[in-house]
């Protein structure tokens, strides 16, 4: 099938690009330079490629780019800047929730999605929220702590 021009709004920037229908959103995001979106298993098991699509956390490896046409996409890097990081980004860094870093962007997206719906999650809710994100380094304890501390900070400061 011929490529078609689709429109993606990514982290506040608009891209009009001609694409074949068989490309996944993951491939397209990385080719556009959004390499904070990681390619892991490419079958929905690891969560490294998670992004927010129209506010919903999804594995970008399981979405065809054409399906995201006109969509609002936020990647982990799009949540904050170096100068003004998102509380989740600060908390992951402070808690030592990052070792190799490969799972981190997906973890942060799943955490953001959780806190959008439940600003005061229990530990069980946090663990469920990141159950589609595999981390082979940390043992998850610091990741759970980071999400808890970001939730507290956001509740205090009203950020996020």
């Amino acid at each position: 099938m011929k490529p078609q021009v689709i429109t993606l709004h990514i982290n506040g920037r608009t891209h009009n690009i001609a694409l074949s229908p068989n490309l996944t959103l993951l491939t397209v995001l990385r080719d556009l330079g959004y390499t904070d979106v990681k390619c892991g298993c490419e079958k929905g098991d690891c969560g490294a490629c998670a992004i927010l699509l129209n506010g919903v956390a999804v594995n970008s490896c399981l979405v065809l780019a054409w399906q995201a046409d006109e969509g609002e996409i936020i990647t982990a890097a799009g949540l904050g800047t170096i100068e003004n990081p998102h509380p989740l980004q600060t908390a992951f860094s402070d808690a030592g929730a990052i070792q190799c870093g490969y799972c981190t962007p997906g973890m942060i997206i799943s955490a953001k999605s959780l806190l959008d719906q439940k600003p005061h999650p229990t530990e069980a809710e946090i663990r469920d929220a990141i159950s589609g994100n595999l981390c082979r380094c940390t043992g998850y304890a610091q990741i759970v702590q980071a999400i808890q501390s970001a939730a507290e900070k956001m509740a205090d400061g009203g950020e996020g």
């Binding site: 099938m1 229908p21 068989n22 929905g44 969560g47 998670a50 956390a57 065809l64 399906q67 046409d69």
Partner: protein
């Protein structure tokens, strides 16, 4: 090798049905994509025309209509979780939704996709079977309702015909005198494929006798199925430990499990008896 495909993006149900009719055998439906998109990477579905249903709003929603809970085929697993109608009238479906894959997958995966994929381990099948669910199959020329029990015919085999899509799923609102229980046995807590899943729904009459019974098993046969022989045993009788033991034994005998990387056939058969007994006992306790 990445598949070469055609991709159509209908905006509404009428357009989807027209496309499906035109494409015939070449048309393949793309719902949440949680199975199909990863298969494309491996070269499956090459030459097929995929019809993306994600923009078809008519296929999404959960409603109460004429004594039935009716959900659109494109309803996601996340949509089920915490929906008041599902919480109130389909606790066993709610439990299965909470244990379905992981949140990122649940946000995309649809109920119709799970059922038409017809995996022996399809998570939503046992609770929907126990609830006496029916599925609505729609083509450009016809709309028909089938019992879910009849719809799935084998490993990844269903009665869905070319030109048809699963537009809705419905089940009668269970009576106030009914109680359900559900268990999924996996190798880990999250993101697990079932080794066994069991959904039970019983209705008890005013005299304490079992009036209706639904006992459905997943991942222990080529298709998720209802154990009618165990259900029949319970109907018209009072739930007692001896009766529960006998029903559990019948459920295990009805299994046709296989050995795979998640468990042996012998293990599956053994735990079927154990889990069915536990669930029936749990319901007995709850009804006291």
């Amino acid at each position: 090798m990445q598949s070469e495909i055609e991709l159509y993006r209908p905006q509404d149900l009428a357009e989807a049905l027209t496309l499906l009719n035109q494409l015939g055998l070449d048309g393949k439906l793309l719902g949440g994509g949680t199975n199909i998109v990863s298969e494309l990477r491996d070269g499956h579905h090459t030459g097929k025309s995929l019809i993306d249903l994600s923009r078809v709003k008519e296929l999404r929603g959960i409603n109460l209509q004429d004594g039935y809970i009716v959900i659109g085929g494109g309803t996601t697993i996340t949509d089920l979780i915490d929906h008041p109608l599902i919480c109130t009238h389909a606790g066993i479906l709610l439990e299965s939704a909470r244990l379905f894959a992981n949140p990122l997958v649940r946000n995309r995966a649809t109920v119709a996709g799970n059922l038409t994929d017809a995996s022996p381990a399809a998570d939503t099948a046992p609770p929907l079977l126990a609830l006496n669910a029916e599925v609505q199959l729609m083509s450009q020329s016809e709309t028909r309702w089938l019992k879910l029990e009849d719809f799935i015919t084998g490993v990844r085999k269903t009665l869905l015909q070319p030109g048809e899509l699963m537009s809705a799923i419905r089940w009668p609102v269970p009576s106030d005198r009914s109680a359900g229980a559900y268990t999924k046995v996996g190798l880990r807590k999250a993101d697990a494929i079932s080794v066994l899943s069991v959904a039970v729904l019983l209705e008890i009459d005013a005299t304490g006798m079992c009036k209706q019974a639904g006992i459905a098993l997943g991942a222990v046969a080529p298709l998720p199925f209802r154990v009618h022989v165990a259900e029949t045993l319970l109907i018209g009788k009072e739930l007692k430990p001896e009766l529960i033991a006998e029903a559990s034994h019948l459920a295990a005998e009805a299994c046709r499990p296989i050995d795979d990387i998640r468990g042996t056939a012998a293990y599956r058969k053994r735990i079927t008896a154990v889990i069915v007994r536990r669930l029936l006992t749990k319901i007995l306790e709850a009804l006291k």
